[in-house]
């Protein structure tokens, strides 16, 4: 199975929210409460009923001109996902073709995935008696059937394009090279957290569109693994040294039986 990915071309998005609607329809999600906000981002945030939303960002550029940008946001489906690595019961899993999915039967609700996600994506049902983790599932069921995700299928201006990961990434770079005046020379998602399955290209700097530019460019699970892989050796060293000290101290006490009994500070 080939690894798939999605390219979001922010310059193409017209803000119609068809991706939001098709996602709700495919996953049969309840409507979310909407509210007025300084922007017209609605629903204002992603939650268990809203796997993805379109954020509206007004940006004043260096030339003083106002641009209005619509940013389709959701789970990045990292190549080496933090949520999969931190889950103590392997409830989060990366499928071979790309989607990061969740196993209802394993999850115990520790919320480490939500705490540690570099993009702060997973949501939790705090009001439920049997809470679930929710985020974009990359329409894994559609992909398994050879279909494309609901959001990219519904996107009228092809701002969300689905395809093989390598091909999609190449297309992102091709567009930046071909129209350097139109795009910022950066593909967000190519290097973040060691690479993801969601690439963005944009006409305005990403930091002005609510993207976290501080996400490290290395696969984050390696930081933990560096610690964990040493544990067996450290544990063996402790067992060995404690046994040795116990043995040596026993011999020492036989030689000097009274020392510790009488020893005062």
């Amino acid at each position: 199975m080939v690894e798939v990915a999605v390219l979001v071309d922010i310059t193409r998005c017209i803000g119609c929210r068809a991706c939001q609607m098709s996602c709700k329809q495919w996953w049969r999600l309840e409507p979310s409460e909407t509210s007025f906000s300084p922007t017209i981002t609605n629903p204002p945030k992603r939650d268990e009923h809203t796997y993805l939303n379109v954020e509206y960002h007004e940006v004043i550029g260096d030339d003083g001109r106002l641009s209005w940008n619509f940013v389709h946001k959701r789970c990045f489906h990292c190549v080496d996902p933090v949520c999969v690595s931190v889950c103590p019961v392997a409830a989060m899993r990366k499928t071979p073709d790309g989607p990061v999915v969740w196993d209802e039967a394993r999850c115990m609700g520790c919320r480490y995935c939500a705490q540690a996600c570099p993009f702060r994506i997973p949501n939790y049902q705090f009001h439920s008696l049997w809470p679930e983790v929710s985020k974009c599932w990359f329409c894994w069921d559609r992909i398994a059937e050879g279909l494309q995700p609901a959001c990219s299928k519904a996107c009228p201006p092809k701002a969300i394009e689905f395809g093989e990961r390598e091909a999609v990434l190449a297309e992102a770079h091709r567009r930046i090279e071909e129209f350097p005046e139109k795009y910022v020379d950066y593909v967000y998602g190519e290097k973040e957290a060691g690479g993801t399955s969601l690439f963005y290209i944009s006409g305005v700097p990403f930091e002005q569109l609510g993207f976290n530019m501080a996400v490290p460019h290395e696969p984050l699970p390696e930081l933990t693994w560096e610690f964990l892989s040493k544990i067996p050796f450290e544990a063996a060293a402790i067992i060995g040294s404690m046994t040795a000290i116990w043995y040596i101290r026993g011999r020492a006490l036989q030689d000097l039986p009274e020392k510790d009994e009488a020893g005062h500070e």
């Binding site: 392997a90 609700g109 997973p122 009001h127 490290p216």
Partner: protein, 403 residues
């Protein structure tokens, strides 16, 4: 059951401290409050009892009940190591209360995390759904095994109380391997609790992040464990009207001072070499938190290095309290407050969250009182001695008794 007075039982109810005093009733009420919060969580859901949100998926139940609670319970493995492995026998009198405090600390940490998670009955999942790449998996498994180990380390009290001679013999026979296992497990999960944060370098305020934060958690937990033994002994001596072995506590205090020195050097070496110390400024709350934490630790270390302090029960208690506050603050900051820069909203614990955390500690203190009253918690004689030492110790006792 053997009702004849055996070699192993010299126990008689020595503490006439009443079970119910105004203080202990308050502890009991707080514990009942914690139970009520737990019941509320099961009936109405997490939302009804805690202020957690997608912005703050972890709150005070993880940072205090687990992160601080487990560190506070480190006294068990440190004193066990001193007495059984380094065989510094004069510390025998502190070991029983220390091991029991650790055991009950782990029980409340476990209860705390069981109520914190969304699907409480699945707390057992890590035992067979293995995911060795996860630090949390290691924490869960090590904490479960270590709580069992602590039960065995503490169980000679029960065996003595009920005169289970063969059980006691068996426990003595396995005690050394058990202690070594306990120390190893403690290293593994105390450090892993710090390593939980390794994967979020860009989500935390840099002063509390370190590639070595796992090992730092372990070192600071050792110092805290010793200070908790001092605090617990001081309070016990007042409540249960026991003499205070200030010579022993002073020795523990000195060990804590050396560990604190090692910790502070380790921490500043790391902050300095990685350049994270540059993010220290007194212009924000984090700078002040860091100042208070490090200041209290340094002050306590200096105090504990002074001989006069180690010979004064009051000063020793004060210095130990400084360490307690500093390390608990370190856990709360690392796990909770240092995350604030990556969050968009504020998190203030609900009163039910505070009541649950306080009630767990209060309940533990009440159980300690019950155990001190009905089990030979302070009377340990040859607890866990090996072979001839034990026989010698007990036969001399028996001779005195028969004589």
């Amino acid at each position: 059951m053997n009702n004849k007075p055996s070699l192993y039982t010299r126990w008689a109810p020595s503490s006439d401290t009443p079970l119910f005093t105004p203080w202990s009733v308050l502890l009991l009420l707080l514990a009942i409050g914690a139970l009520a919060v737990a019941a509320g969580k099961f009936i109405f859901g997490m939302h009804a009892v805690d202020n957690l949100s997608n912005d703050w998926p972890w709150g005070i139940w993880v940072s205090f009940n687990v992160m601080a609670g487990v560190a506070l319970s480190a006294g068990g493995f440190v004193t066990a190591g001193i007495v059984y492995i380094f065989r510094i026998k004069r510390y025998w009198p502190v070991i029983r209360p220390a091991v029991f405090t650790a055991f009950i600390g782990y029980v409340i940490a476990g209860a705390g995390i069981a109520i914190d998670i969304g699907r409480t009955p699945r707390i057992v999942h890590p035992l067979w759904m293995w995911q060795p790449e996860s630090v949390m998996f290691e924490v869960a498994v090590c904490m479960t095994i270590y709580t069992t180990v602590l039960f065995f380390e503490f169980s000679p009290l029960i065996a003595e109380r009920f005169r289970l001679r063969r059980t006691l013999k068996f426990l003595h026979a396995i005690m050394i391997p058990l202690i070594i296992l306990g120390i190893t497990l403690s290293f593994m999960h105390q450090s892993s609790l710090g390593a939980v944060h390794l994967i979020m370098p860009h989500l935390m305020y840099p002063l509390w992040y370190s590639e070595w934060m796992g090992h730092m958690f372990f070192v600071s937990a050792m110092a805290l464990g010793l200070c908790v033994v001092i605090i617990e002994s001081t309070i016990s001596s007042k409540i249960f009207k026991k003499g205070l072995r200030i010579d022993l506590l002073g020795g523990l205090g000195k060990a804590a001072a050396w560990i604190l020195l090692a910790y502070l050097l380790f921490r500043f070496w790391d902050l300095n070499t990685t350049g994270r110390l540059d993010s220290f400024t007194l212009d924000n709350t984090f700078g002040w938190l860091f100042t208070v934490e490090i200041g209290l630790m340094t002050l306590a270390m200096i105090l504990l290095f002074i001989k006069g302090v180690r010979r004064s029960a009051g000063w020793l208690f004060t210095a130990s309290m400084f360490v307690l506050i500093a390390v608990v603050l370190n856990r709360l900051t690392t796990d909770l407050i240092a995350m604030a820069p990556s969050r968009t909203t504020a998190y203030v614990p609900a009163w039910t969250e505070l009541l649950f955390s306080i009630g767990l500690v209060a309940g533990a203190m009440f159980v300690f009182r019950v155990v001190a009253k009905y089990l030979p918690l302070f009377e340990g004689r040859g607890y866990g001695l090996s072979g001839e030492e034990e026989k010698a110790s007990f036969s001399s006792t028996a001779e005195t008794e028969t004589a």
